[in-house]
């Protein structure tokens, strides 16, 4: 069973096999360099630790030999005290090392988490659509977490254990060269066997972690939609899906753990056999009078001590197996390029109201399944285009293309005379503002919700903008002013107020083009009036695209574009269409917009 999954894994992920050492080192250097001072102290403490461990059996050896030759004496008390002292200091050093290594590891992995989050934020919408938030959580937090051992211990612990191993061998050579030779051959053989065992479990851990990511993705998705799930009576179905996902997870976990256990059991067994070997050799050497009884103990004790570096090296390699899996996945994430590529020398969009032109634009979220077909229209600077159409006709997609959240497969989109692909991405998004139906709020103070965490904007400007969009009375009711917290799901804000807040964001950004997706739900008349005033002042000096649902909003547009199934059904100046009794727009005005959307 085990080997079959291994083969399957190999075939599926051939390119993910064994990372070269260079890549590990590169990663370590990047994240450990900033804290090299503490890393060096950690290494020094580990060396002290190794020395004390080597000293311990030597003291007992002298103790045994003294007691056999001289019988009880005061020298014995001295040895006993020395042994206690060495043990105590050793423990103290161990605590200090653990503390330091944890601290180094956390600093390194936190930095890595930050880098990964920053990288993921640059990726395109297509990537984020394809990966659930739960999966991203597991990949950014879970994988990096599993790496903390790698940073805290791998190099330093592996190194110190190798030194301990060599130290033990040298000490045994000094006691008797034959014993030293046997122990050297034994240690090298054991290490070779263990290194072979290592390769066995690694791919199984990779697939296990991948499955965990899927599982968390499922949980995250369903927990986010709890209300809908319950409303539709899907609870039973979710629990059933939960069980279905767990079954392969258990199988994968069992494979990985058993493979690890095989190598663990082998290590322990090989080590006991080594002990038996050294005891037999010691007994023989003692019987021919080559060594003392204390030295027989020394051999046994050192062989026993060897289990520590050997198991530690095995553990480190095991961590490395998991770390390798994580590193591969983290590197994969880091190397994922955004589908939206910025041009080398990005042009800045001009100041003031922006012209917009679509020329034969065809786009589909999946290539070959277009949701927009050959869209052509243009808006002169300062003019307003009203976009009408049923749900799913492509209105929102149109807006997304303007932001370059996606690139169109065919045709060109120009903003301010330049194709958007030639514009600097940051500049483009700075010059285009958007107010959507569901305003995304952060679980953060009002200030940060307005400025998007940009601290350069001063409070006076914020208050002025809040007043402009008619939120000043709302603001006066806040318990802690701009420091009042807002909930991520819009706690403390009505739908209308959330939209007004989004207008405030647009005012702060001061773009040359505004896309306004009007709320389709009914708002109270007072809020509606405030929104209309805000829209008027925003569109006064800017180009606008309004996805309209209300007659009042349509009245302020210059041109009308009616979309149907991703194609232009009608396009022209509003006044001309409104008076043309044969136009679709004319009919819409007669039956009312509500029916048009249904």
């Amino acid at each position: 069973m085990l080997s079959r999954s291994y083969v399957e894994w190999r075939v599926g992920n051939r390119n993910l096999m064994h990372l070269p050492v260079k890549r590990y080192l590169a990663l370590l250097v990047t994240y450990l360099k900033p804290q090299w001072g503490r890393t060096i102290v950690m290494g020094a403490l580990l060396l002290v630790n190794v020395g004390l461990q080597l000293l311990n059996p030597q003291i007992v050896r002298f103790f045994i030999d003294t007691i056999i030759v001289k019988g009880p004496s005061t020298t014995l008390a001295f040895y006993a005290l020395l042994l206690m002292l060495v043990t105590l200091v050793d423990e103290g050093v161990s605590v200090a090392t653990t503390y330091l290594s944890e601290s180094v590891a956390w600093t390194a992995t936190n930095q890595m988490r930050t880098d990964l989050v920053a990288h993921c934020l640059t990726l395109d919408m297509g990537f984020h659509k394809a990966h659930t938030s739960g999966e991203m959580l597991e990949r950014i937090d879970g994988d990096v977490d599993a790496l903390s051992n790698f940073f805290s211990q791998f190099v330093v612990f592996l190194l110190s254990n190798v030194i301990l191993l060599v130290g033990v061998l040298i000490a045994v050579y000094f006691a008797d060269w034959r014993a030293g030779l046997v122990l050297t051959v034994f240690s090298l053989t054991t290490l070779l066997i263990l290194l072979r065992l290592r390769r066995y479990a690694n791919p199984l851990w990779v697939s296990y972690r991948q499955m965990m990511a899927t599982f968390f993705g499922f949980l995250g998705e369903h927990l986010a939609a709890t209300e809908d799930m319950r409303a539709n009576g899907a609870t039973g179905y979710i629990i059933q899906r939960f069980y279905q996902l767990l079954r392969p997870l258990l199988r994968s976990n069992r494979h990985a753990r058993m493979a690890t256990s095989y190598s663990g059991a082998s290590t322990l067994t090989i080590f006991v056999l080594g002990s038996a070997l050294m005891m037999g050799l010691g007994a023989y050497l003692w019987s021919i009078g080559a060594i003392t009884l204390g030295t027989v103990y020394l051999f046994w004790s050192y062989t026993d001590l060897l289990s520590q570096p050997i198991t530690q090296i095995r553990n480190q390699l095991q961590d490395l197996q998991q770390a390798e899996a994580c590193i591969q996945r983290i590197e994969q994430l880091f190397s994922t390029q955004s589908a939206i590529q910025e041009s080398e020398q990005g042009v800045e969009a001009p100041q003031g109201p922006l012209a917009v032109a679509f020329e034969n634009v065809t786009f589909g979220y999946n290539a070959g399944e277009p949701v927009l077909h050959e869209i052509t229209f243009d808006i002169a600077p300062g003019k307003v285009l009203g976009v009408l159409g049923r749900t799913g006709s492509g209105k929102t997609t149109l807006a997304r293309l303007l932001f370059r959240l996606y690139d169109a497969q065919e045709g060109t989109i120009c903003i301010g005379e330049s194709p958007i692909k030639s514009l600097a991405l940051r500049g483009l998004r700075q010059r285009v503002g958007m107010v959507t139906q569901d305003v995304q709020l952060f679980n953060a103070p009002v200030r940060d919700n307005l400025t998007f965490f940009n601290r350069a904007i001063d409070d006076a400007q914020l208050l002025q903008v809040l007043d402009m969009v008619g939120l000043s009375s709302w603001y006066q009711g806040l318990p802690r002013g701009l420091d009042s917290m807002l909930g991520a799901d819009g706690q403390g804000l009505s739908a209308g107020e959330a939209q007004l807040l989004a207008f405030a964001r647009v005012f702060l950004k001061d773009p040359g083009l505004v896309i306004f997706d009007e709320a389709s739900s009914r708002l109270d008349p007072a809020t509606e009036r405030r929104i209309e005033q805000a829209v008027s002042s925003i569109l006064a000096k800017r180009t606008g695209i309004v996805i309209a649902h209300r007659l009042a909003t349509i009245q302020r547009t210059d041109d009308i574009l009616i979309l149907e199934d991703g194609r232009i059904r009608e396009y022209g100046p509003r006044e001309a269409l409104a008076t043309d009794t044969h136009s679709h727009f004319f009919r819409l005005l007669q039956v009312g917009l509500e029916e048009a959307r249904a």
């Binding site: 319950r230 753990r257 058993m258 067994t269 046994w300």
Partner: protein, 106 residues
């Protein structure tokens, strides 16, 4: 619910599996005691006999046999621990999930 009550209820979910897991862990720990007793015998016998006897070699053989028997115990322990741990984790996750789905006004 007190912590011990919670633990008791988790144990009762799959009592035989849990007992088996405990048995396996104990067997593993006892194998270490067995090694200690053998090594003690070795160091007691060695100074008592000036020449190497059959007993010393027999002790080495017993040590090796115990080590090999232990492999079975370790593998069995891993298997029961995997199932035991997984079952318990799954039970808790399932119950929490169900609780969240049923919670009013979540």
């Amino acid at each position: 619910m007190k912590t011990w009550q919670l633990l008791w209820r988790i144990m009762r979910y799959r009592p035989w599996l849990y007992a088996l897991e405990g048995l396996m862990t104990t067997a593993f720990l006892f194998s270490r005691l067995a090694f200690g007793v053998i090594v003690q015998d070795f160091f007691n016998l060695l100074p008592a006999q000036p020449h190497l006897s059959f007993t010393i070699w027999a002790l080495m053989v017993i040590l090796a046999i115990v080590a090999i028997l232990r492999v079975g115990v370790i593998l069995g322990e891993t298997l029961t621990e995997t199932y035991c741990g997984f079952m318990q984790k799954m039970l808790l996750q399932r119950n929490i999930l169900e609780y969240i789905l049923r919670r009013p006004g979540a």
